[in-house]
Amino acid sequence: MKALEVERLSKHYGGLAAARDISFSVEGGEILALIGPNGSGKSTVMKSILGVERPSAGSVRVNGVEVAGWPPHRIARLGVGMVFQHSRPLHRQTVLENIALALTPDSLLRLLPDPATYRKAGAIAERVGLSGVLDRKPATLPFADLRRIELAKAIARDPAVVLVDEPFAGLTSRETAAFAELIAEMRRDGRAVLIVDHNVRSISSLADRVFAMYVGERIAEGSPEAVMNDETVRRVYLGGALTTASRPESAFKDAATPFLEVEDVDVFYDRAQALEKVSLHVHHGEFVAVVGLNGAGKTTLFNAISGLIPYRGAIRREGRSLTGVSAASIAAGGVVQAPEGRDLFTEMTVAENLDMGALRLSAGDRTERLAWLFDLFPRLQERLRQTAGTLSGGEQQMLTIARALMTKPDLLILDEPTLGLAPIVMEQISKALERLRQTTEITVLLGEQNVTFALPHADRVYVLEHARIVWEGPPSRFAAEAGERYI
């Protein structure tokens, strides 16, 4: 009997299948990594195991007990623990009290703290390396220690199955090694460990087996090496034979002072460093792609360029510093961001949303611009009177790009335009970008974790990883030199 068995699990949201016929199992003392790009359905599978989502079909068994459809607390009590990616500890309680909470029985009558609970919590804290900070409040701890608290809480009840969501996100390489050791220890303790992550590389030395998903379906399964070399996986993560239309940097006239220069930029969120000495440049008329996984720092970089967050270092537009310039002035000056998650006015119609982008245009300009946009995105013209909230994900993305283009930007920043979109919709957006590139002089800075989508358009590519730029070059060299990082 396996500790965790998932059989023909499916989950539909309305007509959309987020996961289809997913089957795998994990034994005690084994680490299985469930990987897939954004929107692949791996989170849906994880939530279905936890009971946060009710599976539409299929079965989830924990030590042979069918738990599909059970509420989360009953599944947890049966022996399923979860290490959450984002920690939200109780801030008025100490580290020890936070861990003790996880050991407290679910009873309304437990009114006095049990000394045995605190002894046990202290022992667990020692195992995960928190014994020096037991009496501190979480707010005073570094990020890695907050993750340790999550780990301690997850193993507190001695679960047979542990789910770990993106174990290494936001950690430095030294902390990553320490965490890998802690997860390996769970395996030694005989627990079944299911790691959910974006790519194989980060967990390849840790996982015994890998199960890869893409748009809700299984695409590969096997040892980390086998999955990394799998044809389908390589195609999903890196694209097939690449046709790039990249132009060499010498083709751009502003070689001395590029349109946008980012130099040694650092950004901190509380204790976590989100960008570290990031430098890049974009020439006038160039299409530059910044690729990186979730949490690598793409959105942070764009928000720094747009003046939305404070940073150290220099950001210059045509040689003039943008530091201290307000976000509104930067946008009004023509550096316009189409944000991740779209940020549309969902209660307004498509036409009204586009008008929001046209506030600074004359009536003549506006009509001309609209005609051009409808040519680029014919779908938007059909949907003109519909409210943005009722559009499909792909149509919303088109509207976001169109609204940004409405302002006649000098530099268009596109943050993850493919987020959560089906492949066929990505294809439509890709075509629109291609036409944009061929028919206009537009300068684009694209942030993507979907390499397949980003490379064909890009003149140059930067790879952002753990807050740092780790590779720069033309798309033609990407697969050979940086591709490994991506699977």
Binding site: P71, P72, H73, L101, D106, R110, Y118
Partner: protein, 318 residues
């Protein structure tokens, strides 16, 4: 490890319960007030103490279960009117009327919370707001039973002695504060806080969130209803304007937030402050309400930790 357990038992326990011990000492001193102050001031404080219980009971829901209950007066009103109507109709012993009031608030609270807790986001709060309006309409429509807009005069009072009434209110507030504070600091209180802060994670730790939130609603309803019923037998009259009106609920909420969210005891301080300040400024006429509201607004905006947060911060700085 044994040392740690002993440590928790001693110093840690002392730290956790220091505020409660200080509060009890203050309450003990307040018990001697009748020796000095006038009956009028005593009457005012008696009311303030009942409001203190309303605010503390409300903070259990807002501060710990993370549910904004816009209808504290639904629970208070149920307790007050049930006790009042029972007394005016059948005249059983007062203790039975009061117990029935508390029970009615609990039952009403469960009936309201069971469906409302399934809703997410602001809808829970809106449901509780609607409940207040329904209760208010009920009182007005069934005027024969409830006294309608004129108010319901109850034939009995607990005591006509101002000192006795004052001591009852003070004792009741101290008792309620002790129970609610102890509960908030107990393992159950921690589970409740975790459920309010991150329901998904609390569920993954094996906690039945609905059970804990419902239990907190029951406790909050019990103390609100009990306080409402006791207050009826102090005032001798129940009216919509004193027990149910939305503005009464707003005062309860402002008192709790002003005193300090997630502190329980802050509710009592905030409520007493509101009533006390309103009275001190009464010579200013209508301006008094404006000034008190402005002070409350400033405290809430500038010091989200409320009066207690302010006090502990200045102590920490010293």
């Amino acid at each position: 490890m044994c040392g740690r357990a002993a440590y928790w038992g001693g110093a840690e326990m002392g730290r956790a319960f220091a505020p409660a011990i200080i509060a009890l000492a203050v309450a003990f001193c307040l018990a001697f007030l009748p020796l000095w102050v006038s009956g009028y001031v005593l009457g005012l404080l008696t009311i303030a103490y009942y409001f203190g219980v309303f605010s503390m009971a409300w903070d259990l829901l807002f501060g710990f279960a993370n549910e904004v209950n816009f209808g504290p007066t639904f629970l208070i009103g149920l307790g007050a009117y049930t006790a009042g109507i029972l007394d005016s109709q059948y005249q059983p012993p007062i203790a039975i009327c009061i117990a029935a009031g508390a029970l009615a608030a609990v039952v009403g609270g469960v009936l309201l919370a069971l469906p409302a807790l399934r809703l997410r986001g602001p809808y829970f709060g809106l449901t509780t707001l609607v409940a207040v309006l329904i209760l208010q309409n009920f009182v007005v429509v069934f005027a024969d039973l409830t006294g309608g807009e004129i108010g319901l005069t109850v034939p009995d009072v607990i005591s006509i002695n101002a000192n006795v009434n004052y001591w009852i209110a003070l004792g009741f507030m101290s008792f309620s504060g002790l129970v609610l504070y102890g509960l908030s600091r107990s393992p159950v209180g921690l589970i409740l806080q975790a459920s309010g802060q991150d329901p998904v994670q609390a569920g993954a730790l094996g906690f039945n969130i609905v059970k804990h939130k419902l239990a907190s609603f029951v406790v909050s309803a019990f103390f609100s209803g009990l306080a409402g019923a006791l207050m009826v037998f102090y005032l001798g009259v129940a009216s919509v304007g004193t027990f149910i009106d939305i503005s009464v609920g707003v005062q309860v909420i402002v008192g709790a937030v002003l005193g300090g969210r997630r502190t329980i005891l802050g509710g009592a301080i905030g409520a007493i402050f509101l009533i006390g300040a309103g009275e001190l400024l009464r010579p200013l006429g209508d301006l008094a309400t404006f000034i008190v509201s402005a002070i409350a607004l400033v405290v809430v905006l500038a010091f989200p930790g409320g009066l207690i947060g302010l006090a502990s911060r200045s102590r920490g700085a010293a």
